[in-house]
Amino acid sequence: MKKLINDPNQVVTEMLEGIVSAYPESMKRVEGTTCIVRKDAPVKDKVALVSGGGSGHEPAHAGFVGQGMLDAAVAGEVFTSPTPDQVLEGIKAVDGGEGVLLVIKNYTGDVMNFEMAAELAEAEGINVEKVVVNDDVAVEDSSFTTGRRGVAGTVFVHKLAGAKAEAGGSLLEVKEVAEKVIANVRSMGVALSPCIMPTSGEPGFELAEDEVEMGVGIHGEPGIEKKKLVTANEIAKELTEKVLPELELDRSVEVAVMVNGMGATPEMELYVVNRKIQAILSEKGVQVHETFIGEYMTSLEMAGCSLTVLKLDDELKELLDSRSKAPAFRK
């Protein structure tokens, strides 16, 4: 294991200190917690957005804290949901009296810990609502399972619901926007090489020199299948074909596209993949309103990428375009 760290057991704390010291104008740490909140939190009379999850997905989630996006990001250990007491601290630090929306990615651990935090917050008289993001089409929905995972589409939920809150929306209005985004966003990823947890020093999974994992999760969880490495065009095609159908796009529709690097992917490769994605979309007559390329929801040093497509309407477009001062999503 070759990492630029000091102590595997201190990596989350030190990372949080590193983020806050990078962006002191935008954010601050809630003393003694793993919560990073807006510099001006709590913002009086504004609905607050709280998200978070395991660490290792940087810039998610703290990079999205700032005016126009999140009020708080609660960090867990690497790939491990934060605990209810920490989430509660985040909620309390940002509640400005108009209530708090929790944005949760659909993992059993995250759902349970955030739910428990919501119960605790409500017991303290804070008005809490929650949404669960489940944009990953790799793992099919079924009434027998826990449902789809939440991945990079979560970033759009932060952005658009955050914009709605900034614009003065009520808790239910902000929640409605979040749910509309969730209903209209789909993602899928592919891995070329695994990530290595700092504490164990072990790769999360194995891939042969000529293999990729299609549909990989953001913790390196196995996806649909291991298959032979094919060209960027074929991978772009497969991702697009999986992501698009449920969105039922027709020629009149506009979308936002995110090609997200998983951590170790050269940006050059993201552009090569994007080229084919855009070609396919344009062939289908889908209008791309805006494209985002870069690292938004990573998995440590995993190599690979994910595609996220968000179907837009006029309301969502306006919310996407509005200003954000979050360091990792400036608009």
């Binding site: 395991g54 491990t80 399972t145």
Partner: protein
């Protein structure tokens, strides 16, 4: 035979020893069908428990379990944190004000199983730690004592049985059929917990 405060503390300390010993193994199991952190999560939480409990005074078993629950909730994280936290909290609540004899212990584990099911929105056969806790409850119902040997046996068999199950809850559920032929990490750590209990009871 009753479980007293000292024994309960010993139980948790021993559970921690096992978790520390098996930390890498638990993570390895989790790497196969999850995200590879179960050993790390458990080791972080139980180390704190073992550091804390022996240095505190407790009135009754319920208090030990409450403290344990609090630490687990705030240190373990992930899915197993709230689940073990809930289990210990329910056991604490169920034993409040009572001596822990066979009957009480059965009720405590019964409450834990209920708590796990509610918190995890899960039931038996879904390849989760419930598949160890529930068979342990069954065996407690059959005997009147807290029979360590039987508990260990039941937990062991149940843990092994998770190998053949297809996960439909938790992270492993995403794998569907591919989750088969692997032990469920949470069931293995649950087995260590009950093994630690059996050893504590043996020691007296």
């Amino acid at each position: 035979m009753e479980l007293d405060v000292r024994q309960t503390v010993d139980w948790m300390v021993k559970a921690n020893e096992k978790v520390q010993e098996q930390k890498d193994y638990l993570s390895q199991l989790d790497r196969a069908i999850g995200d590879g952190d179960h050993g790390i999560n458990m080791a972080r939480g139980f180390q704190e428990i073992a550091n804390t409990l022996p240095n505190e005074e407790f009135e009754e078993v319920s208090d030990v379990l409450k403290k344990t629950a609090t630490i687990v909730m705030s240190k373990v994280g992930g899915a197993s944190g709230p689940l073990y936290g809930t289990a210990f909290l329910k056991m604490s609540m169920e034993s409040k004000g009572s001596n822990v004899d066979g009957e009480t212990f059965e009720k405590m584990v019964g409450a834990a199983v209920e708590g796990l099911k509610q918190r995890g929105k899960a039931k038996e056969g879904e390849k989760t730690m419930i598949d160890v806790w529930s068979p342990v409850l069954d065996v407690l119902k059959e005997v009147s004592e807290i029979n360590g040997e039987k508990i260990r046996e039941a937990a062991h068999t149940a843990m092994e049985a998770t190998k053949d199950m297809v996960a439909t809850k938790g992270r492993a559920a995403y794998l569907k059929e591919r989750s088969k032929d692997h032990l469920d990490p949470g069931s293995v750590s649950s087995y260590y917990l009950f093994e630690a209990l059996a050893e504590t009871l043996e020691k007296g």
